[in-house]
Symmetry: C2
Subunit: 315 residues, 2 copies
């Protein structure tokens, strides 16, 4: 049976674009749009699809609450891959529409927040409306008798719904990007590539002073760099938080494995979310080389030394 993949729909979303980057060889028919992030998780958990793509965080807006809540709760899924997609917003309208005709603009609330400056400068008198996704906005504008004159969406969505681009690059931040992750059911992990990321959720043991420093030190002493740390409510009432963590490295590496064991010992619960290749492995955003004394060889040498001194030898 050919593999199928769910994504946050409708057709033409940035998530579809991300999934196409993650699965370049997947035939068009194998991609299944879902009406919400929770529906993607359900489809993957229930086995209706082999995997799925959801947005995890945006460089302007931050974490995507719906995705993080699903990662923290419910049956665990693993992140199998990630991709960062530049968020390029385009103003689309039905063919023949002029910019001066645009009085009503539809888009997603996150997109609206990222285009406010351009709208204020260029369409100061237009009304704005938020719908469930930028693709849904494009779809709505394309329909006969549409209540909107234009949509702000990804290029993919405008083209998919037969709209004409009026203005491209209407986002206020040219370098905005969204990080998408590929979800899968638990099973054999991808091999380490030398430039991997490990994601997890740590639930602190209790509310003692220094608890977060204790947690961070579990990584620091093994030379494991964190690339993301976000506190999120666990859902168990106000004031109860967990920490969503992305760390450099693969759980198969000694330094990461030992840090995770340390976390497991001192935390109430640790939910492992996967080790997978970094999307930015070819950039210089963060140093990928571990600090001295933290390579697999260093750990092995230390282990052999410990065995010797435990046996009463002189180092």
């Amino acid at each position: 049976m050919p593999k199928t993949y769910a994504y946050l729909g409708p057709e033409g979303t940035f998530t579809e674009a991300a999934l196409r980057m993650l699965m370049p060889d997947a035939p068009a028919g194998s991609l299944v749009p879902c009406s919400g992030v929770d529906a993607v998780f359900s489809a993957v958990r229930g086995g209706a699809v082999d995997g799925g793509a959801v947005p995890l965080e945006n460089s302007v807006e931050g974490g995507v609450t719906a995705t993080i809540a699903e990662l923290i709760n419910g049956d665990p899924l693993l992140i199998g891959a990630e991709v960062a997609v530049p968020v390029e917003f385009t103003l689309f309208a039905r063919p023949g529409t002029m910019l001066s005709d645009v009085k009503r603009v539809a888009t997603h609330s996150h997109a609206l927040a990222q285009c406010r400056g351009w709208l204020a400068a260029n369409l100061p008198h237009a009304d704005t409306f938020t719908v469930s996704s930028t693709a849904a906005a494009a779809q709505a504008v394309s329909e006969p008798g549409a209540p909107y004159d234009a949509a702000i969406s990804a290029r993919l969505a405008g083209e998919r719904y037969g709209l004409a681009p009026l203005v491209s690059g209407v986002g206020d931040r040219a370098d905005a990007a969204t990080r998408f992750v590929y979800l899968r059911r638990p099973g054999a992990l991808p091999e380490p590539t030398g430039a991997d990321r490990t994601s997890l959720v740590a639930f602190l043991p209790d509310d003692h002073a220094g608890a977060l420093v204790d947690l961070l030190n579990q990584f620091a002493v093994r030379g494991v760099n964190l690339t993301r740390l976000e506190s999120r409510p666990t859902g168990d009432g106000l004031g109860t938080y967990c920490f969503c963590i992305d760390a450099d490295g693969h759980v198969a590496e000694a330094r990461v494995g030992e840090a995770l064991m340390g976390l497991r010992r001192v935390c109430r619960e640790v939910r492992f979310l996967g080790s997978y290749p970094r999307a930015d492995a070819d950039t210089e955003l963060t140093p990928l080389l571990p600090r001295g004394g933290t390579s697999n060889a260093d750990f092995l040498a230390a282990e052999q030394w410990l065995a010797r001194i435990r046996a009463g030898a002189v180092a």
Copy 2:
């Protein structure tokens, strides 16, 4: 061949008293006085004796420089046991001497420092002289034509050299104690007792900011309590230090073993000095129970969890 043990002599020193506490069944003839701490180390290293006792630190004076220098440098020896001996100073003289006759008092420099208050109050006009040990002071006083009228020494020394106690308890601090260690050549370590101490010397990798915090964190994240931390010159010029460390626990315990492996990875060199039963195991000076999440069972559970998540299972 019966076992023999070296100690810092001459006969009657506090070190002899300590060795008798450490080896209560050793016949008198098996104890060999040495003329200095370095001579004790040499006798043990060279195999002339089976082990030896030296003072390591005093609760008033601090670390014993000669002992620490020998532990840091030269062929490594292991500490096999420790004992804390209350330092009770007694003023001894030849029988028939009255306190008012005492004009010249001999003792060791450390003892003199600990009896200054009593001497100033009770023998303000007496001259003081320092010799190589408190026992040597007692021996000197006992000899015909001695240049001193009295010695400050341990009870053992005064009795050994046939002197009469004039005043006991002449130390300024009634609770002063010296910690002695038993030295042995490398070989099988004593089994963990549940209340052990581990000693080592750590040589920092380089002089970067935070290097000592990094070192201390290797212990902290595994819940290993330090009972002593002393910086000492390595001997390689001014400004080059190493750290003499005593930690709670036995190297055979998972938390201690992992901390030592961490130290080994991040330090230029680590010299292991032994794991042995604590002399103060029955006191309440320090908590002996490890912090939550740091027992051998906790480490084993974390190791098993890591194996599961590395295999792609859900925790």
